[in-house]
Amino acid sequence: MNEVNLDTKPNLDRRDFLTKSSIGLAGLAIAPGMMLFDLAHGRAQDEAVSNKVRWGMLIDNTKCESGCNDCVTACNTENGLSGGTKPTDSQWIRKVQLKDTLTGHVSSLPMMCQHCEHPPCVDVCPTQASFKRADGIVLVDKHICIGCRYCVMACPYQARSFVHEVLTDQKTEVPRGKGTVESCTLCVHRIDKGGTTACAEACSKAGHEAILFGDLNDPESAISKRIRSVASIQVRADLGLNTGVRYEGI
């Protein structure tokens, strides 16, 4: 009897040991993946945004198709906009036609909030509702916006819209309401979860890849590499606003 006990005991221990250690190893193997899932763009969800990153977009005008409106449609769907183009309708992004009067060359590009480093809309806001987040995204805090529309006047890109009428059926992530000013949020609700903007996604889906979204402060990001190697411009660079949205090929 004793011999049997002595024989079985080490076997059981070994089995236990193997089972436990394999569970431990599995845990270790999963842990890095879990971390990647939890962190959005290298930031934990409960961590405040910092100025270590600066979000921006590079729009390649040569790849932007003239008749294509996919970015606008995607923006409207994502943010619950009506899609109307009357002066009283909100437009966060719109396609602009450019014509060189000398050569007759026509090109089109998407125009939206340029997420300036020195935003005029923030300068003029009397309630500090218009503000720039640490990571460079310019937003309107509608809780404190009084709807004076100074920012609409101040914006050189005419990127801001005023909500004139009562709205219903807003998106959960995109609250919008009458009496406040709004504009492109650079899909902040997506970025905070580690995503990209709806317009950039739609452009890739359409196969144009004209909109490149990324971190301008990270020298290794695709957008930084691109603006380092190719000439790109800021629209109305003379104003010295240092826009976060840049264009190439115009």
Partner: protein
Amino acid sequence: MKIGIRLTAILFSVFIATAVCAADKPQVPQLDVGKGGQCVEDPKLMRKIHMNLLKHQRDETMHKGIRGQKYSLADCVECHASNKTNSVLGSNEAFCQGCHTYAAVKLDCFECHTSKRKVTAEASK
């Protein structure tokens, strides 16, 4: 004289007892709690300070980008939207509107935020 005092004392105690009984059964609104379940805080506390919790967290989210925290209006709606109408507004039984009407407090949240539970792609199929 003594009897008079005693009678007054008895009447007084009866009066207090009825008052206490009445306080036991206040006319509270009958609310449709939707999915319900375990709230993020004690419901008694939530009734008193939910607005403070929401206001604190909204600033954190808006200005600092801190999301997915404990007190979120979207989560209020997620749990408490009526199972019939999918909304926290619409009637005096609705979770938010019912109580706010009872307390006569203006409810501004839903002028911008949606009062409807987010319908997932799977649920809408």
